[in-house]
Symmetry: C2
Subunit: 189 residues, 2 copies
């Protein structure tokens, strides 16, 4: 075993597109890997306090999280390089499209396959990090990623996965097995 030291390393990490409205009503999107499910109806995000997204979340108490896909990898990565503090036309330059969420005061980027609409329940401000807890109001999925029974077929989504060890994006490969099923044989031992 090799020791890497105390670093923020896990796998997989998501490629989350955090979409908010700025004070002038323009759309801002940033790319975040530090986030996930916090409860049966909540998500958690860790953001730098100085991001435009952080200011927008404090002001509007709402955001959406979209899952980035390979078809929009250029745009998704751009949202992680460009800063909304300097360029108010950051989203416009991406060429993507957003609509107002019907559930929360935040935009839904309609190009991405999966979007979770959230209202803020808690903001935990630390010097280096803003922790955001959001209540999930709805999950929207594109019709193109549904199977013939209307269920999400993740293999159709082209969803990106972040590998923090190499700072790279991957897509999923083969299905390896079924949860709550593969381990059944060991239950009988």
């Amino acid at each position: 075993m090799k020791s890497l030291g105390a670093k923020p390393m896990l796998f997989p990490l998501p490629v989350l597109m955090v979409a908010t409205y700025s004070e002038d009503g323009s759309v801002n999107v940033m790319n975040a890997a530090w986030g996930g499910i916090y409860d049966d109806d909540k998500v958690v995000l860790a953001l730098s306090p100085g991001h435009k997204t952080s200011a927008n979340i404090r002001a509007r108490r709402a955001f959406t999280l979209s899952v980035a896909d390979k078809a929009h990898m250029t745009e998704a990565d751009y949202f992680g390089i460009a800063t909304g503090n300097k360029s108010t036309d950051k989203f416009a330059k991406s060429g993507l499209t957003a609509e107002k969420s019907s559930k929360v005061d935040a935009p839904v980027v309609t190009d991405f396959p999966i979007t979770v609409e959230c209202e803020v329940t808690d903001l935990i401000e630390e010097p280096e990090t803003l922790h955001v807890i959001g209540r999930i109001k709805d999950v929207l999925v594109k019709d193109e990623i549904l199977d013939d029974k209307g269920k999400v077929d993740i293999t159709k989504a082209g969803a990106l996965i972040y590998d923090t060890f190499s700072s790279s994006y991957y897509t999923i490969g083969e299905k390896a097995g079924r949860a709550f099923h593969e381990g059944a044989a060991l239950m009988k031992k």
Copy 2:
């Protein structure tokens, strides 16, 4: 777009093996998908309050998180089906091996490719959920997943990815691109 309702759905989710010591010193491991990076040196987990793992974390204030791999999918899934409350030999039945962490009061399951050693900094008790914040003390990786420069090559890890939409495990596929690089073209617009 189809609305799925307010459900805890994001992609990807991890397949985290949460390892703790019980009061008798035996090893307990559970399978958790609700967790991720919380800060530059912290992780966050959401657990059911009644799990044996939750009791162990309250008592010992420490745990490790391993990334499950395809080679041990049967065992990893079994850790998500069996309960440590009823079977004190849950880990023994898995056939896996653990060593005492040198950093925290918790076991390291040496079969898994990546392990994050954590000490508890905060426990947030809610009726339905125990939120655990852990400080990362070290990250251990198996030599077999290192490239010839000593860096983690995630394609060698066989790491599992959880798809909550279909309750399935996947491994990663092809590399799609490089972070902080793919979006550079849009910066020039």
